[in-house]
Amino acid sequence: MKNFRVWYLYSINSFQRTLTNRFITLVFVVSKFIRIAIFLFFLNLLLQGVSSLAGYTREQIIFFYLSFNLIDTGSQFLFRNVYSFRPLIVSGDLDLILLKPINPLIRVLLGGMDIMDGIMLLIILAVVVYFGITSLSVPVFFWLGYFLLIINSIFISAAFHIFVLGFGVVTTSVDHLILIYRDLTSLMRIPVDVYIEPLRSLLTFVIPLGVMYTFPPKFLIGLLSWQLIVLSFILSVVFVLISLVFWSRCLRSYQSASS
């Protein structure tokens, strides 16, 4: 409960900080929408040029892309603070966080929720639901499973971000690492099934980005077996646990440089 209250305070502070410059906030939100719109346009063009993509219809591919944006924006909304972790490490200011009687991950992972992504998230969520209902016509029960798998994806994303933080402690190179993660996730703008083997299996089972981004929409479309659903939840639990162990190991090598 204490951790939740601290996280709530960090989030309010972060929102207020962002909103001090409404114009820049607007520029960011508009830019992100432009990116989504242009890629949708590209997908549309592409699907006019080829009959189908990995057996998926035009509507299904668009739904995959919208789901990608939902998960991606949700992750950025929650874990934005990871992007500003490096200065804490190189300046030694992480000391000030480690000294506090709260779990340091609350601060470095969740302590900078991004209201710009929050706005985006709400709009994308509305678009996903509207598009899903009008184009895919699936039972309500499937939506429940879809959102459970989305939450599962957020946990996997949390694990990825914790890994980046751990590497950041050891190497001080957070900026490019998090961007490498972002580059990898951008592979998932289209379903993992489009990629050839062995990349497809690598992206599904080794770096579970396929589980994260492709499984929820696949479930909604009715293409995910129950074995893979169970596997995705197990994978997420294992991945989070390993990331937490990794983080605590990495913290031991923190040298408090420059402090």
Binding site: N21, F23, I24, V27, F28, V30, S31, K32, I34, R35, I38, F39, F42, L45, L46, G49, V50, S51, S52, L53, A54, T171, S173, D175, H176, L177, L179, I180, D183, L184, S186, L187, I190, V194, Y195, I196, L199
Partner: protein, 266 residues
């Protein structure tokens, strides 16, 4: 001239200080290339030609994009310009007998040289690993055209990035906003994910009136010999006009910015 040569050499050495950072940056470029490569490889499983592009033509384009990005888009952490204006560190440069804009341009060139060397090695290694069939039917005129458009687009991109960073004169705490918008346009409209030939005629015509296709798509298309003759001359002229426009605005905003600059933070 000797002063700028010294800046070039110092910056060249500086790039080897944070080696892991540099390696990760190059890794990102390779990953992006692989992403595009596998995306198109997957798409080509459904047909032999997409948008009139055969698979070898598309792979040649993708590899060229990596080279063009290294020549035109690679730059030192240009956020520093915004940061220096915001923190007041710009004053340190203004009192020195050196042009701040030329100083950063020389650093830009130093970064490009290293990135181009790395890109050439990476392209060779990727070609060795994947052995994709390539179509490189370029002529002497296309090679000259490619060099000319690079000569124009390198400063054009520099002026464009300066324009976004000069926002810091008026808004020192937010140096990233406009840059982000430009990055999005470069990502999508410059031709890094897909060649602009896939756009409908009106779309291709419209993007010509933006500076973005001159940064990736046109250099790559010229190198591949897709743009020749009078069309090549027209594109070169358009690229040159864009460079002049961006230079004019960058200089104008710089002068206006210096008038409001108060060296806050110093």
């Amino acid at each position: 001239m000797r002063r700028y040569l010294a800046v070039f050499l110092i910056d060249w050495q500086n790039q080897f200080v944070y080696r892991l950072n540099f390696l990760l940056w190059r890794l990102r470029n390779i990953l992006r290339l692989l992403m595009t490569f596998f995306l198109w490889k997957g798409i080509y499983q459904t047909g032999s030609a997409v948008f009139g592009f055969s698979q070898p033509q598309m792979f040649s384009y993708i590899l060229l994009v990596l080279l063009v990005q290294s020549i035109i888009l690679s730059a030192p952490s240009a956020d520093n310009i915004g940061g220096e204006i915001g923190s007041g560190d710009l004053s340190n440069y203004l009192v020195k007998p050196i042009s701040y804009l030329k100083y950063w341009f020389v650093r830009d060139l130093s970064s490009k040289l290293l990135n181009v060397i790395c890109a050439l090695i990476e392209i060779f290694l990727l070609w060795l690993i994947f052995r994709p069939e390539l179509v490189l039917n370029f002529s002497v005129s296309s090679l000259i055209g490619f060099l000319l458009i690079c000569l124009v687009s390198v400063p054009a991109y520099y002026f464009l990035s300066l324009l976004t960073r000069f926002v810091s004169f008026w808004n020192p705490e937010n140096t990233w906003g406009l840059s982000f918008l430009i990055i999005i346009f470069i990502e999508t409209l410059a031709g890094s994910i897909f060649p602009l030939d896939i756009l409908p005629a009106w779309g291709k015509l419209a993007v010509q009136f933006t500076p973005f296709p001159y940064l990736i798509y046109y250099p790559a298309a010229i190198f591949l010999g897709k743009i020749t003759g009078f069309y090549l001359l027209r594109i070169l002229l358009q690229a040159f006009i864009w460079m002049l426009i961006l230079f004019f605005f960058a200089r104008l905003v710089w002068i206006k910015g210096l008038r409001v600059y108060g060296a806050e933070g110093k």
